[in-house]
C-alpha cells in the first residue's frame, strides 16, 4: 500500500519538476523512486492486508504482480533514457508513465469493482495521451484517437456489466459478489449472466483478444515504439492480473458457464494472432500480432482455473514481457530512421554478432523453445490446462505455437542474410538499448534454467 502512495506522489513530483526546474534530475529521481517502490512491495510480502474497507487487497497475488509491473517499468526505463533527454515534454511523459503504473497497480490489487474501474481509467487515460504523444506524426495521432474510441467503448461495456452485477448482488465487493453467486446458484436472475458477459467483453477488449483485437495492431504500430513497448508488457500484465482476479474470486462458481466461451476465444485469439503475424513485414506490427497471440495463451490459464493458473499467468506474463522488452529495445534502435521492416535486420549477425545472439535468445524465448523462460511458462500453462481436461485447447495451442515459430524464426534467419548495398546502414544497437537487451536475454535464460524461483511464488 505504501508503495502505491509513493508511486502516486512520484508522479506528482515528476509533474512539478517542470515548474520547479529540476527536470535534469528527473530520470534519477524516477529510477530511485521505482526501486524504493519495489523494495516496499517486497517488504509487504506475506502480509495480505485489506485497505480502506476492503477497497484494495494486497495479498501475495497482488504484491507479486505489482512488483513485477514495477520491475518491468524499471527495465523499460533503461531503454527510454533518450526519451527523457531529447523530447521537450519529458516531465509530462514521466508523470504519465508513473500514473499508468499507479493505475496498473490499482487494477491488480482491487477488491472492489469500483476500484477496478478507477484503476483501468487511470491507466487508460494516461495511455491515450501517450499513444498520441508523437504529435507531429499522423500515425501516432491516429493511434491515440483509435485507442481512445475503442477504449471508451470497452470501458462502457465493463461499466454496464458492473452495474448489472451490482443490481443483482447489491455490492461492489468481490467477496460479497462471490458469496451472493454461490448462495443463489441455480436461481440467479438472467441479468447476472448478462453482467458477467458484458464484463467479459470489456476485459477481452482490454487484453486484445479476438474477435475484439482489431484496434491493437494499428494502435501498437502507430504509437511511439517506447509507448508500444510499455503497452504490450506492463499494461498487458496488469490487464491479465485484473482479469484473472475477477474471474477467480467472483465468478469461479459460474465457470461451467463461461469456461467454454473463454476457451473458444482463447483458441481463436491464438490462431488469429499467429496467422496474421506470419503475414507481417513490419517488425513492430508483427510484435503487435504476436502480443495478441500471447494473450490467447494467457487466456488458457483463465479457462483452466486450476490451482496453478495464477502462477502460470504470472510466469507467462513475466517471460513474455521480458523477452518482448528485449525485442523492442532492438526495434527502437533499428527503427530509428522509420525503417521498421523485419528485412532491415539483414546482416545483423555479421555486423553485431553479440546483439544478434541476444536478440536470438529473446526470439527463442517468445517462441517457447527450451531452455528459455518462454518454454517453461508454456509448459506450466499446458500442464494446468491439460489437468483441467481441455486437451483440445492444448492441441490448438500446440498448432499455433508452430505457426509462431515460423515468424519468430523469420526474425532470426533474416539476421543471417547478407546485407546488400541498397539496404542502407545498419544502426548500431548500443548504450542503454544494449544493456536492456542483455538484461532481457540473461533473465530469459535464467528464468528458463531455474524456473523454480518464480514458479514457487504463487
Amino acid at each position: 500500500m505504501n508503495a502505491l502512495i509513493v508511486l502516486a506522489c512520484l508522479g506528482i513530483v515528476a509533474m512539478m519538476s517542470e515548474v520547479l526546474g529540476f527536470k535534469k534530475f528527473l530520470l534519477p529521481i524516477v529510477a530511485l523512486g521505482l526501486v524504493s517502490v519495489i523494495g516496499l512491495f517486497v517488504m509487504d510480502w506475506n502480509t495480505a492486508i485489506r485497505y480502506y474497507n476492503d477497497m484494495l487487497y494486497f495479498d501475495n497475488y497482488a504484491i507479486a504482480f505489482s512488483a513485477m509491473v514495477t520491475v518491468l517499468t524499471a527495465l523499460w526505463l533503461i531503454m527510454s533514457k533518450e526519451y527523457f533527454i531529447s523530447t521537450s515534454s519529458k516531465a509530462e511523459h514521466a508523470a504519465l508513465i508513473l500514473f499508468c503504473l499507479t493505475g496498473a497497480i490499482v487494477m491488480i490489487s482491487y477488491s472492489d469493482l469500483s476500484m477496478l474501474f478507477i484503476g483501468i481509467e487511470i491507466l487508460s487515460i494516461s495511455l491515450y495521451v501517450l499513444a498520441a504523444s508523437n504529435k507531429n506524426d499522423l500515425r501516432s495521432n491516429e493511434a491515440g484517437l483509435k485507442y481512445f474510441l475503442m477504449g471508451a467503448f470497452a470501458t462502457g461495456f465493463l461499466l454496464f456489466g458492473i452495474t448489472l452485477i451490482y443490481g443483482a448482488s447489491g455490492s461492489f465487493n468481490l467477496q460479497e459478489i462471490a458469496n451472493y453467486i454461490s448462495t443463489n446458484s441455480g436461481h440467479l436472475p438472467m441479468f447476472v449472466y448478462a453482467g458477467v458477459l458484458l464484463m467479459l467483453v470489456g476485459l477481452l477488449f482490454k487484453v486484445s483478444a479476438a474477435p475484439f483485437h482489431f484496434w491493437a495492431p494499428d494502435v501498437y504500430e502507430g504509437s511511439p515504439t517506447l509507448v508500444t513497448a510499455f503497452m504490450s508488457t506492463v499494461v498487458k500484465t496488469a490487464a491479465f492480473a485484473a482479469f484473472y482476479r475477477l474471474f477467480a474470486t467472483c465468478f469461479s462458481d459460474l465457470s461451467g458457464w463461461w469456461g467454454e466461451t473463454i476457451a473458444f476465444v482463447a483458441a481463436l485469439t491464438m490462431l488469429v494472432g499467429n496467422v496474421l503475424a506470419v503475414m507481417q513485414q513490419n517488425f513492430k506490427r508483427m510484435l503487435a500480432y504476436s502480443s495478441i497471440a500471447h494473450a490467447g495463451y494467457m487466456l488458457m490459464a483463465i479457462v483452466a482455473m486450476s490451482h496453478v493458473s495464477a502462477g502460470a499467468i504470472f510466469l507467462y506474463t513475466t517471460a513474455y514481457s521480458v523477452a518482448s522488452l528485449g525485442a523492442f529495445a532492438c526495434l527502437h534502435t533499428l527503427g530509428a530512421n522509420n525503417n521498421e521492416k523485419i528485412i532491415n535486420l539483414k546482416g545483423l549477425i555479421a555486423k553485431q554478432p553479440l546483439n544478434a545472439g541476444l536478440l536470438c535468445l529473446a526470439m527463442l524465448s517468445l517462441a517457447g523453445i527450451p531452455p528459455l523462460a518462454g518454454f517453461f511458462a508454456k509448459y506450466y500453462l499446458f500442464y494446468g490446462v491439460i489437468q483441467s481436461g481441455y486437451l483440445w485447447l492444448v492441441m490448438v495451442a500446440v498448432l499455433s505455437s508452430l505457426i509462431g515459430v515460423y515468424y519468430y524464426f523469420r526474425v532470426i534467419y533474416t539476421m543471417f542474410l547478407p546485407r546488400e548495398e541498397e539496404d542502407g546502414v545498419l544502426p548500431q544497437i548500443s548504450g542503454s538499448h544494449k544493456i536492456l537487451l542483455t538484461i532481457a536475454a540473461i533473465l530469459s535464460l535464467l528464468m528458463g534454467i531455474f524456473p523454480g524461483i518464480l514458479q514457487g511464488l504463487l
Partner: protein, 484 residues
Amino acid sequence: MLTLLLLFIPLIASPLCAVISRDKVKYFALVVSLLQLAATVYAFTLFKSDIANQFGVNYWWIQSLGIAFKAGFDGISILMVALTNFLLPLIILSSFRNENENPKAFYGLILFMQFALVGVFTALDGFLFYVFWELALIPIYFICLMWGGKDKVRITLKFFIYTLAGSLLMLVGLIYLYLQTPGIHTFDIQAFYNLTLTPEAQGWLFWAFFIAFAIKIPIFPLHTWQPDTYTDAPTQGTMLLSGIMLKMGLYGMIRWMLPIVPIGISEWGHFAMILCVISIVYSSLMAFVQKDFKRLIAYSSIAHVGLIAAGILSLNIQGLQGAMIQMLSHGVNVVGMFFIVDIIQRKMKTRNLSELGGLANNSPIFTILFMIVLLASIALPLTNGFVGEFLLLNGIYQYNAWIAACAGLTVILGSVYMLRAYQAIMLGEPNAKYAEFTGLSKIEKIILVSIVSVIFITGIYPKPIFIVAQPALEDILVHIKDIY
C-alpha cells in the same frame, strides 16, 4: 558423477570457444572431444552391464513439480553415448580443411550439440529428456542456417517446424503421463514404467510419441524434410544429423515408448511396422533414381533406419539387439559415407553422378576405403552392417514373415543403388576433370581408417556390444512381456 562429467565437459567448453583465437579454436574443439572420448572409455572400464542406472545423478530441479535432474547409464545409454563421443572427434577433424567464416561459432555449436545429445541419451526424467531433446535442435538449426547451401533458409525452417511439431506432441504426451502418476506427480521414468494406463489412452499416447520419433528418424510419410536438409546442410551438419541425431528417435522408441505404452503398440504397432516397410522400399527406390550422390545417401539412410525402427517394433530380443548394433553401425557408416561425399565434392566440385567417373585410377587407397564403407552399408558379412541387418531381419521374421520379406528388399535394393553409384563414381571412363582428384590427405586417411577399423571390429567380433546391451534390453522387454 561420471554422468555429470560427460555432460559438462562439452557444455563448459562450448562458450569457451568464443574466447579462443580463430586459428586455434579447431584444435581446442578436437582436444575437448578427445577428452570426452577418453572419459567415455573410462566409463566403459567401470561399467557393469547388469546394473541399471550407473553413475547416476539425481537432483531436484523444480521440486514442487516433481521435476528432477535425473540421469544415468545403462547398457543402451552407454552405447549411444559411446557412438556420440566416438563420432564427434571425427566430425570435428573432418572440418579441419573447411575455410569457415566464423569458426568460433561453428565449434561452439558442435560442442553444445554434443552436450544435448549426451543429455538425451542419459536423461531418466521425462521433463529433462524433453528439454535435451529440444536443446539438440537449436545448435543444428544454426549450423545448417549459417553454413548451409543456397536454399538453406527455407529448408532449415521446414526442418525445424517439422521436428518441433513432433516434439510438442510428445510434450503433451509427457504431461499426460505426468498427471497420471500417483501422489505428488513426477516425471521419473520408473514412475512412468509403473503406470497402468487404459488401452484407449495408450493408443493416443502411442501416436503422440510415435509421430515425434517418426519425424526424427524419419519414417514415411513424415520424411519429407530429410533429403532436402541432408543435402543442403554443411557436411558436418549432415554427419551430426544422420550419424547421431536421428538415433535420438530410435533411442526414444526403445526407452520412452515400448515400456510405457505396450498395449498401444500391440494395437497400432502393426500399422507402424507397415509404415516402416513402406519407408524402406520407397526410399530405396528413390535412392535408385538420384543423380546427386549426397541425396542418394540421404535416401539410403531412410531405408536403413526404417529397418531399425521395424526391428524395434518387432518387440523381441533379436530385433532389439539388432537395432542396437545397427544404430551404432549405421552411425559410423553413414558418417563415413558423407565424409566420402565431402571428399569427392571438395576435389571435384561436383556430386553429380553423371559428371563423375574413373576416379579409381588416381587414388587406390581412397578406392579401397570407399569400397569397404560401401560394403558395410550394404551389409556384407564380416562388416558391422551384416550383424545388425541379420539380427533385425531375424527379429522381424519372428514377428511376421511377410513383413520380413518386404523389409529384406532393402538388402537387395541397397546393393543395387550403392554399387551403381560406386560404378558411376569410381569406375568407367575417366572424366575430363578426374586428374584433379589427388590422393588423400593425412587427416582424411585418419578419419576413414578409423571408421573402417570400427567396421571390421564390430563386424567380426560384435559380442561385447551384445553383452553390454543385453540386460538393459531385457529390462525393457519385461514391461512388454506382461501384456502378451
